[in-house]
Assembly symmetry: C2
Homo-oligomer: 124 residues x 2
């Protein structure tokens, strides 16, 4: 549980991919459904460790959808996203959107990992 | 692995807290260190399930830091963040920042959960 040195990530270490969506709350459900279809293409890619699309509880939240995915390496992620079928799906999702969708995808390392303290037992 | 109905979350179900930081890449390490000190206050709170602060691999990424935390319920998260010591720490972090830090905290439900397909064995 320390702040790791910056830029610790290298192409062959596990990496977190986070994509922050700016989308109208009213469009979030449709965008999530499209995302799920594209995501299916990722499930059998080498190095894919899992992905969760999060939806804001409040329609007032600035970022209605946030994807957090885990990959064995940056190289595995790059190879998977280079799949033409995936790229077509991404383009179609943009074309189909009723309103513009802004996405901010990036690769991340875990800088700080906080786990719960062990619970002390009730005295007595 | 379905798109759950919208607003599925209720105050007593597990919730994901995501905070997206807009901060200069050059300030990210200092902000992460401050975040870790505040985060320590969360570790013994009831309902805290863990928290990871992610740092972008590239200094060009729009969002240099993203915190993804898990709580047993929205109520547990609300109670923990109401702690005056935590609120003081948050305020001090803002006051100490060399440049303005924009944060976008919100509560999320998992809308889609993709797990890897079981790997088929090599034929033969």
């Amino acid at each position: 549980m320390t702040v790791h040195s910056s830029r610790a990530g290298s192409p062959d270490t596990a990496v977190t991919f986070i994509n922050v969506f700016e989308v109208d709350a009213g469009d979030a459900e449709a965008v999530a459904a499209q995302w799920e279809r594209r995501g299916e293409l990722m499930r059998d890619k080498p190095g894919f460790l899992g992905s969760r699309l999060h939806r804001a509880r409040s329609s007032d939240s600035r970022f209605q959808l946030v994807n957090v995915a885990h990959w064995e390496s940056q190289e595995a992620w790059e190879a998977a996203t280079a799949d033409p079928a995936f790229q077509r799906g991404t383009q179609e999702a943009r074309d189909d959107a009723a309103k513009p969708i802004t996405v901010s995808p990036a690769l991340y390392d875990v800088a700080v990992d906080l786990t719960p303290l062990p619970q002390s037992e009730t005295p007595g």
